[in-house]
């Protein structure tokens, strides 16, 4: 058996129907390499040759647990996928898909040909956009000063409990209306999209954003509907002051790159 920590492996970024290698000039790959194209079965795989000392199983296990390395790898992977996506419909592959050599990549293209073609057809002429919504906290409500008359009548302890209860219930009301607002936003925007999908809300420790994320959604849009979608996002954000809304894109269609039969839920 070949030693899988020595020599070069082949990192796969994405698959497209046909791509000119010239179109990949610019971004460096995950190992600083120049991305290239491997062809088979009328498909092009966007790949790069990587050092297995770093990108073999052991090296990856180490690096994916190092935030700085993970960031460098994820961003480089994304940059190459994005470069390809500017020229052709692409089906991005998940991070860390590595083959021993080009032959393995060609075999993969042949083996999955029909499903890759179907996946490409689904994303052709379409873009992915991200919509995130955060709950806007209303801190004033919970710290509203007490009516001094109440305190005199009921005694400080009772008044405190009453206030505390009112604060809790108004916070609960706000929490519920925020969630309902996010659900309504998701549904409304889904109606404008070819497909919609929710990612998990992001961990504040990773995102560095302490706000409460209520919605982390991705939408697949026909190119012609992007503007209308943007307008709808703006309009619904105005209609839902309890939410702070962020729109990002266009993304390569990561969230909608699925092979039939290999459907899997994250």
């Amino acid at each position: 058996m070949a030693d899988r920590t020595v020599g070069n492996g082949v990192w796969v970024y994405a698959v497209c129907s046909d791509l000119d290698e010239q179109n990949l000039r610019g971004p460096q790959g995950v190992d600083g390499e120049a991305p290239r194209v491997v062809r088979a079965a009328d498909l092009s795989a966007v790949v790069g040759s990587v050092d297995l000392a770093r990108f073999g199983e052991e090296g990856l296990r180490r690096d994916l647990n190092d935030l700085h390395r993970l960031e460098a790898i994820a961003r480089a992977h994304h940059d190459v996928v994005d470069a390809a996506a500017r020229h052709r419909p692409v089906v991005p592959t998940r991070l860390a898909t590595v083959y021993e050599d080009d032959r393995g990549v060609r075999a993969m293209l042949q083996w999955h040909r029909d499903r890759l073609v179907a996946a490409l057809r689904r994303v052709e002429g379409r873009q992915e956009w991200g919509v995130k919504a955060y709950g806007v906290r209303d801190d004033q409500r919970s710290s509203r000063p007490a009516d001094p008359g109440d305190q005199a009548r009921e005694g400080a302890g009772t008044a405190y409990l009453r206030r505390r209860q009112a604060a809790l219930s108004s916070r609960e009301t706000l929490r519920r209306s925020t969630i309902e607002g996010a659900e309504a936003l998701y549904a409304l925007l889904s109606a404008l999209a070819v497909a919609a999908r929710r990612h998990r809300p992001q961990d504040p420790h990773l995102s560095g954003d302490p706000r409460w994320m209520v919605l982390n959604a991705a939408y697949l849009l026909d190119n012609g509907r992007v503007e209308a979608f943007g307008t709808a996002v703006t309009r619904s954000a105005t209609a839902h002051p309890e939410l702070a809304v962020e729109l990002t894109g266009p993304w390569p269609p990561y969230s909608f790159a699925v092979l039939d039969d290999a459907r899997e839920e994250s």
Partner: protein, 73 residues
């Protein structure tokens, strides 16, 4: 675009450069087609990557931004 929505688009390279790492991780780790590679199937499995992320989150936590800053007071 002005108005109530914060918009970050690819057509604005300066802003796009800053696109949060997490947004990229959502996509490159939890989306994209899963095809069996020769070498990294076990690594590329979602679970393993999420375990890595859990490790990352806890390693980031002590000095990192976020609500914990308040908790520590």
């Amino acid at each position: 675009m002005t108005g109530p929505v914060a918009t970050i688009t690819r057509e604005d390279p300066a802003a796009w450069e800053q696109v949060a790492l997490v947004d990229i991780l959502d996509r490159v780790l939890a989306a994209g087609v899963v095809i069996t590679g020769d070498i990294t199937l076990s690594i590329a499995g979602v679970d393993l990557v999420y375990i890595s992320l859990q490790a990352l989150v806890s390693s980031v936590r002590p000095g990192g931004p976020g609500p914990t800053r308040d908790d520590r007071r």
